[in-house]
């Protein structure tokens, strides 16, 4: 068990899957000699050569479209789209093609492709730091993964590459340098399984990706106030595994759902709806959401800081569902 970064965990997953299965190849912008905009593919060109690590033109539609074709043809492409914002250029290939091919062919063709992309971002403004996971999570036929820790990142990427369906694998730009324990031996984390990251009896915090870390920070803060929060990390957004969430709510009777996306029609809306549909009688308070304010991400640092949620807003939302009077209102979300 070594302590490695999220970035290194992803790199190991790619490398190990490329060694394990020669059908796996990578394509994307600046992934070769440059090693990827977030340095995840560093060293892979040198090890596997240009046939399996393809630098592409700036052509997101061709990257994903070609990956769809190669996947249908029996390969296991892993397409890197530099940021999730740029997937919008190729959204037709994702939603009208990758997601629907298996269905439209009546199951005769599989589309085992992975689209690795990056959500979040700071100081990159409105069209360069969005959290668009819900666009993909909305679509039947896609699987959507958003890991929070190096362990989950590695295990889920390996599962995604081995999966027979298209997987949108959403990394987070602020997580790449975070560290955590990762086993030396081969393992996968199954897609579609939520994970309890912290036990607690008083309130359930549901989160994913970087917000899981913020939720854990919030839980530490709450513990100092005598509140024990349970943190459930969704890890996969589609298919959504509500089991651990509902079990937790049955014990705590209160829930706060945290996402870095916008509140309206977001991941939090879906999770809150599922809680009230499936555990209405367990609830002692309305389910609250913590999310980005409904504004495109501003460039100015002071405005951006106000727009994004963090541990402070999570703490306040938990206090609110526990009906603990606090001075400040919930600022974000």
């Amino acid at each position: 068990m070594a302590d490695i970064t999220y970035r290194e965990a992803l790199r190991q997953a790619l490398r190990e899957e490329m060694l394990r299965d020669e059908r796996v190849f990578l394509l994307g912008e600046d992934i070769g000699a440059y090693g990827g905009s977030y340095a995840v593919t560093k060293g892979l060109l040198e090890e596997f050569g240009e046939k399996r690590v393809k630098d592409t033109p700036i052509s997101e539609t061709a990257i994903i479209g070609a990956a769809v074709g190669a996947a249908m043809d029996g390969l296991r492409p892993v397409a890197e789209i530099m940021t999730i914002n740029f997937t919008l250029v190729a959204i037709d290939q994702v939603i009208n093609n990758a997601a629907k091919i298996h269905y439209m062919f009546g199951g005769q063709f599989r589309c085992p492709l992975v689209i690795r992309t990056v959500g979040g971002g700071r100081r990159l403004a409105a069209t360069h730091s969005q959290n668009l996971e819900v666009l993909f999570a909305h679509i039947p036929g896609l699987k959507v993964v958003a890991p929070a820790t190096p362990y989950d990142a590695k295990g889920l990427l390996k599962a995604a590459i081995r999966d027979d369906d298209p997987v949108v694998f959403i990394e987070h730009s602020l997580l790449y340098s975070t560290r955590g324990p990762v086993p030396d031996e081969d393992y996968v984390v199954p897609i579609g399984v939520s994970d309890i990251k912290r036990r607690g009896r008083d309130v359930t915090i549901v989160a994913y990706s970087r917000m899981t870390r913020e939720a854990l920070i919030a839980a530490e803060e709450l513990a100092k106030q005598g509140i024990e929060a349970e943190v459930v990390d969704l890890r996969t957004l589609r298919p959504l595994d509500m089991g651990p969430v509902l079990d937790s709510v049955a014990r705590t009777n209160r829930a706060v759902v945290v996402g870095e996306d916008w509140r309206s029609f977001g991941i939090g809306a879906e999770v809150a709806a599922r809680i009230q549909e499936e555990a209405f009688d367990e609830l002692d308070a309305p389910v609250l959401r913590v999310s980005q304010l409904e504004v495109p991400t501003p460039y100015a640092a002071n405005l951006e800081k106000l727009a994004f949620p963090g541990s402070r807003q999570i703490v306040e939302a938990c206090q609110q569902v526990l009906n603990i009077q606090v001075g400040a209102p919930v600022a974000a979300g």
């Binding site: 912008e29 600046d30 070769g32 000699a33 440059y34 090693g35 905009s37 630098d55 592409t56 033109p57 700036i58 052509s59 997101e60 539609t61 061709a62 940021t83 914002n85 740029f86 919008l88 250029v89 100081r123 990159l124 403004a125 409105a126 069209t127 360069h128 304010l293 409904e294 504004v295 495109p296 501003p298 460039y299 100015a300 640092a301 002071n302 405005l303 106000l306 727009a307």
Partner: protein, 329 residues
């Protein structure tokens, strides 16, 4: 040295004024890097190596009349058309007074309605169809304008570029497409981006002229632009100009070009630097002296110093304005 500018309708004063904009672009860009390395500027995209192309191109446009959809590297274009170092620095530092967006948009994503400068998105190439649309509107209204839209050769691989060019061609719209080919899409060299030598060769496939020019020579770019402007204003439709340039710095303050470009190549292109070459031309035709150059540098640096000072002291955006401008007020 032969006089090449008179035939283009440029007198000596215009020549010196062009050089001034080129030098201003270079010095301002260099200052932005210093501010970045001092931790005062979070992010910048550099124009170094593109100045000759940009000033030569903008010189053929009418400020406040023609429309511009410059891409993020076009510092020389926006300075030539009339934005100021102060405007640039206010955006770079995301200040409330930033005339582009009040600190909302990324730096170098220019927007300035008084000069008909239209902002772009971060996914590249999306401005190209916009240019076609603006030109279509102008044609419907009978306005005598041209629309300038620029992009790198990397962006030329985007579908939006193809669609925008085809639309402009079909409707014979007054659009000038300027591809500033600096040979690298961040790290990916041209031969991995396209199987042709010139982006301009593609113009034939749309049915309008494609011209290749030396982008390190402002007079060559100006001449090509003049012709394209005249063609557009005669109602004959778009032109694609490909200016061969070289970016002398990394793509942005966030990448290290040593991983993908040999140092000898960068050094070789520095010897062909457009700013230095144009200064030599000015001196060669007898309109410029070393003393005048030193004096100009002093004046431009003083202007930049003042702009930096002003921008640093300027107020940040008001937190109470956080939710403004999402919808019309």
């Amino acid at each position: 040295m032969d006089n090449r500018h008179a035939a283009l309708g440029l007198n000596d004063d215009a020549l010196v004024a062009m050089y001034e904009k080129m030098l201003l672009t270079r010095l301002l860009d260099e200052r932005a890097w210093v501010l970045n390395r001092l931790g005062k500027v979070h992010f910048l995209v550099s124009a170094q190596g593109h100045e000759a192309c940009q000033v030569g191109a903008a010189w053929a446009l009418r400020p406040g009349v023609d429309w511009l959809l410059p891409y993020y590297r076009d510092l020389g274009v926006i300075l030539t058309i009339g934005m100021t170092p102060r405007d640039y620095l206010l955006a770079l530092l995301a200040k409330a007074e930033d005339p582009n967006s009040g600190g909302r948009q990324m730096p170098s994503h220019w927007s300035y309605p008084p000069l008909n400068i239209f902002t772009g998105s971060s996914p590249v190439g999306t401005q190209v169809p916009h240019a076609a649309g603006i030109a279509y509107g102008a044609k419907l209204r009978g306005d005598d304008i041209v629309v300038y839209v620029s992009f790198g050769e990397g962006t030329a691989s985007q579908g939006d570029v193809h669609e925008g060019m085809n639309f402009a061609a079909v409707h014979k719209l007054p659009v000038i497409f300027l591809c500033q080919n600096n040979r690298y899409a961040i790290s990916v060299p041209q031969q991995k981006q396209m199987a042709v030598e010139n982006v301009a060769d593609r113009a034939a496939g749309y049915g309008f002229p494609g011209v290749v020019v030396d982008g390190m020579d402002p007079l060559a770019v100006y001449a090509a632009m003049q012709e394209a402007v005249e063609r557009a204003r005669r109602g004959e439709g778009p032109t694609l100009i490909e200016a061969k340039v070289y970016r002398l710095t990394p793509h942005s303050s966030d990448d290290d070009d040593r991983t993908y470009r040999p140092r000898e190549e960068v050094e070789e292109w520095k010897r062909r630097d457009g700013v230095a070459r144009f200064k030599e031309y000015l001196m060669g035709v007898g309109v410029w002296t070393e003393e005048a150059d030193q004096e100009l540098r002093r004046r431009l640096l003083a202007e930049i110093d003042a702009a930096v000072e002003y921008a640093q002291a300027a107020a940040d955006p008001e937190p109470s304005d956080l939710l403004r401008h999402v919808y019309a007020e």
